[in-house]
Symmetry: C2
Subunit: 308 residues, 2 copies
């Protein structure tokens, strides 16, 4: 167990990485928002099998939260995180205080001004008067599912990941497949913008009771957590039904919805999509993924299950 | 005079560049759409003063043209270009046949489909059924001036420049200040997305008669060219008037418009903006730039003049 180097500055991070790559070492990046759990540690294990050096970034990205979302209550435990990252044998931790450019003299803070009459979609970043105005949009994949209820989410994720790629310059980046749509958005961005980064999706890690690991699980009461187990249960039921021959997606989605609703969850969406392009399918005839988002109290959870 | 290496493949281009950077050599990129003229050669001279090795890219980018624009008639002379680049002492020429991903099996060609009822802005890229769907938007700077009459232009430019940066990985990139808004859009993108590329704007090069150099000038008839000289004349007049104390921008813009209209040009826009953020000003009290776009027959020309 060696203590990882903690870097807070973009330029230092880049030169750390660049000097090692020039020496022939490969680098894997695991981007996180901190409050690390077993799911993150599993991403790190995947990363270690793919590259010589592992960098974990910790940054709660304001641009992927709407002002109405849970940025202010997003859990944090930086000293706990650093302990876990030491134990995990990570080589460097990138913890920038801020990743976005603040508004300068001749910039109006935050581009919330309506431009040519268009409504400006705003995140918590615009809310604090940032001078940032460049966004990466993965136009089709960012729509639907989480993009419907979280309109700034994928714009914020794609943009911050591009920034991290430009700062860290990794050979490989590992993302959790729990955020399935996010993973696909990033794969598509990397392909379309010619980033020389291999994007790896790592399998969902579940707690002993089957709940998909998430930093937000800490906000669940014991009763809510009990109810939330219905998500995983519903996905397993649907997969089993599909394997037994039920190919009609509407029926499978109804099964998932019913199971979660009966347990007391409030459905945000249940979708069955082909795995790569996330286009909805009506009959299962190719590898698909069932994606779910549901609320338990004030906590919104997502989960998914691939059917190959 | 040594013949530059001509690279057509993204991966070969990247490894050419990366191996030299690891050896401590710095690289400047001059992105072009070919049909090179003295303006481009001046960008190359600027580049040579800033880096050890010069790469010129030649690629007519379909995503910055609307289907109604002049992509199909954009002039081209690749063998002439290579001769000029040899004489200019360029080290490598990046001439990809295609930079965008084509639609694959499960992708509908071209994301022209209306998504959630939103109208999809389409360029010549969508028109040929590309699978590309990731766009970089510099939300404020891409609006107004050329962005008004060319709604896909800056989206296309920012996206292709990001791709070129990710493929070539230059230390420096040189752009002509004739495309003033484009230069500012790229500067902002680089800052906002943390590209480690120094973006340099190079002064406008004018022909013997004062016309700003442009590949499109070849389409002007001798009479149209004579008329088009009114652009530069109008800008000089306005600058002189400003230096003599005329600070009111509306009056200065009227002077420019009148001069060009009288010569037979059709004004697209005349704007006076502060130089960095391109926000319109009413009275000259900071460094500004007068930007003009006007039509002469079927040819749209742009030009500008800074007043410091």
């Amino acid at each position: 167990m060696s203590v990882p180097e903690v870097l807070r500055d973009k330029d230092l991070m880049r030169s750390w990485s660049r000097s090692r790559r020039c020496n022939g070492q490969t680098i894997a990046l695991v981007p996180t928002m901190g409050f690390l759990h077993e799911g993150h540690l599993s991403l790190i294990r995947t990363a270690k099998s793919l590259a010589d050096l592992i960098i974990v970034s910790i940054y709660v990205n304001p641009s992927q939260f709407s002002p109405s979302e849970d940025l202010s209550t997003y859990p944090s435990d930086i000293s706990g995180d650093l302990r876990k990252l030491s134990a995990a044998g990570v080589n460097a931790v990138f913890c920038p205080a801020e990743l976005y450019h603040s508004a300068s003299g001749n910039e109006l803070g935050g581009h919330r001004e309506a431009i040519n009459g268009e409504r400006v979609v705003a995140s918590c970043l615009e809310d604090v008067g940032s001078g940032h105005e460049t966004w990466i949009r993965v136009e089709r994949l960012e729509k639907g599912m989480c993009g419907t209820s979280r309109p700034v989410f994928f714009r914020g994720v794609a943009t911050v990941v591009a920034k991290l790629f430009n700062i860290v310059e990794p050979d490989v980046a590992v993302f959790g497949k729990k955020d399935y749509q996010q993973w696909r958005v990033i794969c598509r961005m990397v392909r379309d913008l010619d980033f020389d980064v291999k994007v790896i999706g790592s399998d969902i890690i579940r707690d002993f009771d089957g709940l998909a690991m998430s930093s937000r699980n800490v906000h669940l009461s014991p009763t809510q957590r009990e109810k939330a187990l219905s998500i995983n249960r519903s996905l397993s039921k649907a997969k089993l039904a599909a394997e037994k021959g039920q190919k009609n997606c509407q029926d499978l989605k109804d099964l998932v919805k019913q199971t979660i609703s009966e347990a007391g969850g409030k459905i945000d969406y249940v979708e069955i999509m082909e795995q790569q392009g996330l286009r909805p399918v009506e009959e299962i005839s190719c590898p698909v993924v069932i994606c779910v988002a549901a609320w338990f109290g004030n906590v919104r959870l997502i989960d998914n299950l691939e059917i190959d």
